[in-house]
Amino acid sequence: MMSEMEMSRRGVLAGSAATAALVAASHVEAQPAKAVPPAKMPVSLTVNGKRHDLTLDTRTTLLDALREHLQLTGTKKGCDHGQCGACTVIVNGKRINSCLTLAVQHQGDAVTTIEGLGTPDKLHPMQAAFVRHDGYQCGYCTPGQICSAVAVLDEIRLGVPSHVQADVSQRPQPTNIEMRERMSGNICRCGAYSNIAEAMAEVAGAKA
């Protein structure tokens, strides 16, 4: 057995995914007699402009539908409890945690993931700004950060208020403190926060 020291980061991630799959399987087998059996349902999602018709176990989160069924692995699973923001996607124009919502809740919804924002050849302005400002280090939280950042600038444009406004009856402005407050649901353990806020400020300024 590998020692902790020998285990690579990738090995840890792959190992925990396999463990999670085993745990999930044993849970299903260990159902008490009165429990309901797993149920499957059809659901249609439009992801990055393309419609997908799926039949999924009702327990499938939107995150797992994207990653495991549509192979869109750009969206990341961090905590799987809505605490880290790595799974952030944009649904019908609004950012949400895809780990805390069931795929079957999104019949007919339009989902935008990091794959739908830009491509390596044609980056979204926010992706380009993250590159220019070094808004990441390991990159694991980055897809969620970028989806969140794009939606945050929309929220500011639409006048959605925030905790750091001196007067919530006024329109918010795209200031550094606003970016920081509004991005608090996206954790970056490498600590690229200040560069992320600068990337966002650049994109906000370019559009102003």
């Binding site: 327990r59 945690n97 919502t101 069931l102 809740q105 929220e155 208020p161 905790h163 509004r182």
Partner: protein, 317 residues
């Protein structure tokens, strides 16, 4: 997560009947708290009735000069509504002090009222918890209780209601409107909506099985300045250690409710009368029956200081 079946209801009465009819059924709105608890198998519904198609997502004026907030209005939409920002600033302030932008986009008004405690022992299935498993005991009493209740607790449970929105609704004297499985409706004053733990800490609120929240109504605007001061371990995206919702008039009178201190938003109307005498006079009355632990007694002083900061002009709307 335990397996479950799923349906989408078309009307509030149909949704209520569907949950009342099937054992182990629950309503599903935004799902941000329920899904989290289902993954931990703290919540194990056998059937989910999704209420997103019930058209309860608008905010309308009432004939009494207040607002009627549909149960499915998202936290973001409620906080951003210009009428709320102008006339009920304490509510906007409380909502934007809670959770993250992603969660507020999905979480609903009704779901926010129904969110469950964040007591670490409730969240840990290996520990006894009378709220999660009635009769199993309370590991929080004598345990790590820094975040937990200082007043209104019992020898069965010292959990707190974790939310911010309801604390503002308590200071505004909101009313929770519901429909039951038989189609009957009722209006529950927010003061009576959340319960104290007593001997039945597994009951967070006064809803009956299958009773669905359809709206929250706000009375006429109170005027005055609106404040929500939240003290927490991080500057953003953390639950309150103590929060203060207040509406203060020019003459120094006003009303206040506290979050993070009890099993429900904590307001003592007799304490409101002391507002002109200052924060210490208010909290002396509001927390006269406090029973803090050694680890959370600091919340009493913190409540006084947070209210003092609020009266001095703190974070107003």
């Amino acid at each position: 997560m335990k397996p479950f079946t799923y349906e989408r209801a078309k009307t509030p009465a149909e949704a209520a009947a569907a949950v009342a009819r099937q054992p182990g059924a629950k309503f599903l709105a935004g799902g941000t708290n329920l899904l989290d608890l289902m993954k931990l198998e703290i919540e194990t519904p056998r059937h989910l009735v999704d209420v997103q198609d019930l058209k309860l997502d608008s905010i309308e004026p009432t004939s009494e000069g207040g607002l009627r907030i549909g149960a499915l209005v998202t936290n973001t939409a409620l906080a951003a509504d210009m009428r709320v920002r102008r006339d009920y600033g304490v509510l906007t302030r409380a909502i934007v002090a809670g959770a993250s932008g992603q969660l507020r986009n999905k979480a609903t008004t009704a779901g926010n009222l129904l969110q469950r405690t964040r007591c670490p022992y409730f969240y840990d299935p290996n520990m006894p918890c009378n709220k999660r498993k009635p009769g199993s005991g309370c590991a929080a009493i004598g345990g790590y209780s820094r975040q937990l209740a200082v007043i209104g607790s019992s020898d069965k449970c010292i959990a707190t209601y974790p939310g911010d929105m309801a604390v503002a609704m308590r200071v505004l004297d909101a009313t929770v409107e519901t429909v039951k499985a038989d189609g009957k409706t009722r209006a529950i004053p927010i003061a009576d909506f959340h319960r104290l733990p007593g001997d039945t800490p597994h009951l967070d609120h006064s809803l009956e099985a299958g009773e669905l929240i359809t709206a929250v109504t706000l009375p006429r605007p109170l005027g005055g300045t609106h404040h929500y001061e939240k003290v927490r371990d991080r500057a953003s995206y953390a639950f309150a250690l103590v929060s203060v919702a207040a509406v203060i008039q020019k003459d120094g009178t006003g009303r206040t409710a506290f979050g993070g201190v009890a099993h429900k938003p904590w307001r003592v109307e007799a304490a409101d009368d002391a507002m002109p005498q200052g924060a210490a006079a208010v909290t002396a009355r509001a927390f006269a029956d406090a029973r803090p632990t050694d680890a959370n007694a600091f919340k009493l002083q913190l409540a006084t200081r947070a209210l003092a900061a609020t009266i001095a002009g703190g974070r107003s709307a």
